[in-house]
Amino acid sequence: MAEPLLVNPDRQFIQDVLRNGAEDVKKCYQCATCTSACPLSTEEYGFPRKQMLLAQWGLKDQLLEDPSPWLCFYCGDCSKRCPRKANPGETMMALRRYLTSQYDWTGLSRLMYRSAFWELGILAVVAGVIVALFTLPHNFGFGLLDRSGPAALSTVMLDRFAPVGIVDWGDKILALLLGFLLLSNAARMFLKLTRGRNIPAHLYINEFHRLVVQGLTQKRWNACASNETVKNWLRHVFLVSGYATMFILVVLFLPWFQVENSSIHWTSFLGYYATAVLLATTAWILFDRIRKNTEMHRFSHFSDWLFPILLFLAAFTGILLHILRVLNQPMPTYVIYVVHLAIVVPMLVVEVPFGKWGHLLYRPLAIYVAAVRSKARELAAQTEGVAVASEAVASS
């Protein structure tokens, strides 16, 4: 029997998780059908029954030290089998939303997950800043265009509107800032998952490949047994390849990507690939969320809609911008350029450090730490075994 446990419920945690999609969690009667039905849960990391209990009882501290919510890829078998229709799959999703808001130290994520108005408000403010950047200064955007004379109004001359050097600096600064925020949140997560555990340093190195491989391939998803798994996993891998391509093009190769004339450049082909993939996968995902035909898509939190919608709009305005430039439509090109950035920048600012996109780091990190913790436990058990054995030898 377990030690007596003093339960100190965090009621705000319960409220937040209920609001984040776990509204059926209190129907759970702890029968553990979910954990036994789950193809990913193991003896060591058994879920989602335990996490249902954490959410029901408000055991926030235990949750923060538990990598399990990120080890789940939401095949939905648990919800399908749940005899109480308590939706353990969606509860795990709600816990991931909650954890994302907890890792963030600025508090903005919490506000956004609690209220769609905050999320839309922040998006609008950032979009406003972008529009202002293109309309207020006299030496950038429409101000620069006014001073560049009529040539830039008859032919597309992006350099007379948004000089690539300035934009390039802008996106590098943005990438560093958002990267810093995301990494600092991930560091908080990492500390919560590892603090107070006796983990030898070499294990962090031995297991590091998991972080990279899982981050790039999301391979673990395939261990889900559901029929939808392969489809969802492949779609996700393509989606990742699309935005990774776009990210590299924009952050590292902007001087080659944002070109002046109406010619097709080598970067165009990579851009076409990324755009096609992003448009197709986000539209498909939205379609599935509307049809609610799989467990994974039956319930959609506000954040689940916002992310694919913004990504779709970003890709759509991006390709529109490209078409207008190739067709040599100066004013429409400039306007769509601003619109494109007024979607992309707020999307990144909100999603990367504070929103759903964070899972691109949190998930592989959790898989990595879970493996490290397992190995540490194995090692400890071995040394204990050796100690017991040598004691036995000594006493004999």
């Binding site: 029997m1 377990a2 009667y29 702890q30 029968c31 553990a32 059908t33 979910c34 954990t35 036994s36 039905a37 789950c38 849960s41 193991t42 003896e43 058994g46 029954r49 335990k50 399908k80 089998r81 749940c82 005899p83 109480r84 229709k85």
Partner: protein, 423 residues
């Protein structure tokens, strides 16, 4: 004042269902002096109780209790029994109902002495539904050894074309293949509905593998495997190889308390599994038995039984519902996935035999419309002189069904009194 029916021509009570509940209601009413028409759709009385090996918690065979009831029924001239009979219509006003009953042909008349000469010559076989299909009978058969009425019955669907072997073999001229369905009407004062239950179809719980692997049986079929008059003469063996299982796993709430299946607790399965674990151990003291459960629900007098069985060696209780059962490759064994909640560990147990504790589904087919049904399909009540008793009303054990039958008989008797007073 009411006087015994033997001296008056008042209307009988119709009892629908000849299981333990209906038999009890019929007897109580008849012994109080009222006439009773008891109809039963199968060829014998006793219902599901007749197929059980042992009762819980006393672990005694139902045969003896049923036998006493059958003796009382045989002695009582006021009970008219119709087997192979189904209710077609029940119409009328309180105190005065017309019941139309369809009686299917038995093809064997009352001249039958159960000598078995017919079955000896019968060339055709049928799956024995009384033994859950684990054995076969001839097309002409006695439902089971001590069936009442003690008369053979012919399953015409199983007969060979044009075969008359049984007719020729019967020296009492009891076989009549020309029998036709009959329709009988009765004027009755009240009706007792005791149509009973059926086990939940375990093959619908697709994650538990029933129907896919031979060594997964239900609690209801285990009763037949354990019964001395069952297909294995009471030797509990694995269907795959006929060997006694060493490790047996019971899966509680197989369908019950599950909104995908039966949202309610079937109330008897915990005690039934404890009973079965207990007689499995008695038969094979080395058997290792594991019972996976959500909660053990054995209140009242059953708690003592619970305490007794829990103390038995070799019976292990694990809190955690089974989510998956798969066959072990290359063997007939089964791998049972569950989470041992109290240890917080996901485990895979192995078993040679898995018993699914399937639940109780109310049996309401063939009843005329007009009965109120609750959210789960149990009959909750009706307008008029209809009294509901037994498992068609709620899941309950034999003892409770018997009490229920007695209560229903009292209500029906009062209806008869009212009909006499007003008419």
């Amino acid at each position: 004042m009411y006087e015994p029916a033997t001296t008056r021509a008042d209307k009988p009570i119709l009892v629908i269902g000849g299981g333990i509940t209906g038999m009890t209601a019929a007897l109580e009413a008849a012994e109080a002096g009222c006439r009773v028409v008891l109809i039963e759709k199968s060829p014998y009385l006793g219902g599901r109780t007749a197929s059980f090996h042992l009762y819980f918690p006393k672990l005694c065979p139902p045969v003896c209790g049923l036998e006493i009831n059958l003796q009382r029924i045989k002695r009582n001239p006021r009970i008219q029994i119709l087997t192979l009979a189904e209710l077609e219509r029940l119409e009328g006003l309180p105190g005065n109902y017309q019941a139309t009953v369809k009686v299917s042909p038995r093809y064997v008349t009352e001249a039958c002495t159960a000598c078995n000469a017919c079955a000896e010559v019968c060339p055709s076989k049928r799956a024995d539904d009384f033994n859950a299909g684990f054995s076969k009978t001839k097309a002409v058969y006695l439902p089971f050894k001590w069936a009442f009425p003690l008369r053979y019955v012919i399953d015409r669907a199983a007969c060979a074309n044009g075969c008359r072997a049984c007719v020729e073999a019967c020296k009492y001229e009891a076989v009549n293949l020309g029998q036709q369905p009959e329709r009988k009407t009765f004027s009755v004062a009240a009706a007792v509905v005791a149509t009973g239950w059926e086990p939940y179809d375990a093959s619908r719980i697709d994650n538990l593998g029933f129907g896919k692997y031979p060594n997964i049986v239900t609690n209801v079929t285990l009763e037949r495997l354990a019964a001395p008059d069952g297909p294995t003469q009471g030797k509990i063996v694995r269907p795959s190889d006929g060997q006694p299982p060493k490790q047996i796993v019971f899966v509680q709430c197989a369908g019950s308390r599950d909104e995908n299946h039966l949202p309610y607790c079937s109330s008897v399965c915990c005690a039934a599994s404890f009973k079965q674990a207990s007689y499995l151990r008695a038969q094979n003291p080395k058997a290792e038995i594991t019972i996976f459960y959500i909660d053990i629900r054995m209140p009242g007098r059953l708690e003592e039984f619970y305490s007794k069985v829990v103390k038995e060696a070799g019976i292990r209780l694990i809190k955690g519902k089974v989510g998956r059962i798969e066959g072990e490759p290359c063997t007939d064994d089964l791998l049972i996935t569950a989470e041992e909640i109290l240890a917080g560990k996901k485990i895979i147990a192995r078993a040679g035999l898995v018993v699914l504790a399937t639940g109780i589904v109310p049996q309401t087919r063939g009843l005329p419309p007009g009965f109120a049904v609750d959210e789960f399909g149990f009959i909750s009540g009706s307008e008029g002189d209809f009294y509901i008793a037994g498992c068609v009303k709620r899941p309950q054990d034999v003892a409770a069904s018997v009490r229920d039958g007695t209560g229903a008989a009292l209500g029906a008797l009062q209806s008869v009194v009212r009909s006499v007073q007003s008419g």
